[in-house]
């Protein structure tokens, strides 16, 4: 009974049940012909003839998501540090971040399609999503340094730059790493939505083509691949977050 209460066992059981239900509904035809069994979806992903197609699509999506992730994270951190050093800027930056988060990317996509060079929309949308999360995490992290440490730096006459580099940024790292973890799915979402609005290739393009041409197994395979990519990135970011928390807390 002890083993049955272990959250890891239960979690594995839950995931397994989900996969089994997916397979059973697909195999029995209960979900109609648009619900393929898991085994057929996995078989398509494992088929070497398809690797060229999936590889090119995943490569395009990944490079857009990574570009957006890197630029968005850098912009979020820079903006947060800037508003930290110049507090009068903070309310405006908060409004900007909240506004950009509240406006759905669907509304922004057409503007970017017009303004940006072709193919730049996926990376831009993922950058915006990432920037908001990282900005919020960094801004709250920069306030995390303890009052006693702050007093010590004041007493020793530390300059703002030294205070930032030696006290506030290290103190903010755990919060920043959490923000970076949460930003992984956001980067993928931005890239895929950007591709839906217009991109030559990518997983998003594959998904929409699969939907419109009734290539059901292809549609599910591309969605599963996007999910697996996001999960892999999420796990890497979780490992980084653990390491940072262990070192800086």
């Amino acid at each position: 009974m002890r083993i049955a209460r272990d959250p890891r066992v239960l979690g594995l059981l839950g995931t397994l049940l989900l996969c089994l239900a997916w397979e059973a509904i697909g195999a029995s035809g209960l979900g109609g012909f648009t619900w393929p069994p898991l085994s057929r979806v996995v078989a398509m992903l494992a088929d070497p003839d398809r690797w060229d197609l999936f590889g090119r699509a995943a490569g395009a999506t990944l490079s857009a998501a990574l570009t957006g992730y890197a630029l968005g994270a850098a912009a979020g951190i820079v903006l947060a540090v800037l508003t930290h050093l110049l507090p009068p800027l903070a309310p405006g930056a908060d409004r900007l971040a909240a506004g950009m988060n509240a406006v759905p990317s669907v509304a922004l996509a057409p503007v970017f399609l017009v303004l940006l060079p072709a193919g730049g929309t996926p990376a831009t949308l993922s950058g915006i999503g990432v920037m908001f999360l990282v900005y919020v995490a960094t801004a709250s992290g920069l306030r995390a340094a303890g009052a006693a440490h702050q007093d010590l730096f004041s007493v020793l006459g530390a300059r703002p730059a030294a205070r930032l580099l030696r006290l506030e940024l290290p103190a903010a790292l755990p919060s920043i790493s959490t923000g970076l973890r949460l930003a992984v799915p956001a980067a993928l979402i931005g890239a895929v939505i950007g591709e839906w609005f217009g991109a030559p290739r990518g997983l998003g393009v594959l998904i929409v083509n699969g939907m419109q041409n009734f290539q059901i197994v292809l549609l599910w395979s591309a969605v599963l691949l996007a999910a697996l990519l996001s999960l892999a990135g999420f796990l890497i970011a979780t490992a980084v977050e653990r390491a940072v928390h262990a070192r800086f807390r």
């Binding site: 239960l10 979690g11 409004r95 900007l96 509240a102 057409p110 979402i189 549609l219 999910a227």
Partner: protein, 248 residues
Amino acid sequence: MRALSALMRDWWGVGLILLAWQAWVVVSGMNAIVMPHPLDVAADLATGMGDYLPALGVSLSAAMAGLVGGFALGLLLGILTWASPVAAGMLTPVTVLFSSVPVVTLIPVLARLFGYGPGTVVAITVVISFFPAFVFSSAGLRALPPGSADLFRVLGASRWRVLVSLALPAAMPSLAVALRIGAAHALLAAMVAEYLMGSSGLGAMFAAAKSELRTERALGASLIVAGASLALYLLSLCAERWARARFN
């Protein structure tokens, strides 16, 4: 003068973006087909309200119906995991799994499963709104004030009493956060679903305008959604403040 400087302080970021946009249009010398003048968009908004408003109504009501459905489902499952540790152990990792993958990619899958139609838009927003509601309600139901659970036990309260009188009120601030996150996502999901299926609402209107190269109409639809989702965000922010003041 003071009002002006307060305005500058609060809105410099948004103003900067708008200025950069205008500068880009002027410098790169785009023509009106590619990038309509702001006046064209404003004129289309003024004359085309009869087209915009019904479409917005369709999108908004689909998003709201989905939000309510997703919230009910999320709260129900949250209560289930609150009552049963086994269910909690099995459901939590599955939800973590879903929160680490791009859920919007499910929209085309759901569109194929349920068929193209207005009902599918609601189904999609239900699925999208479910996740924040479930995550925040199961966390909120456990965030009890210290000592309160012991008091209820000492007084011999039933589980139902504990749920209704203690856990649910304690979860209200978390649920309000979920509402703030979910409201923006619901409208986004409804718009994307309508855009991809081309069936109804603002999303379909936008898709049609885009394929007919009526950029002023497409940008007008963008502005309307942006305004609506900003209004939703501010409303949910008020709801969150109220929930915090009332239940904390």
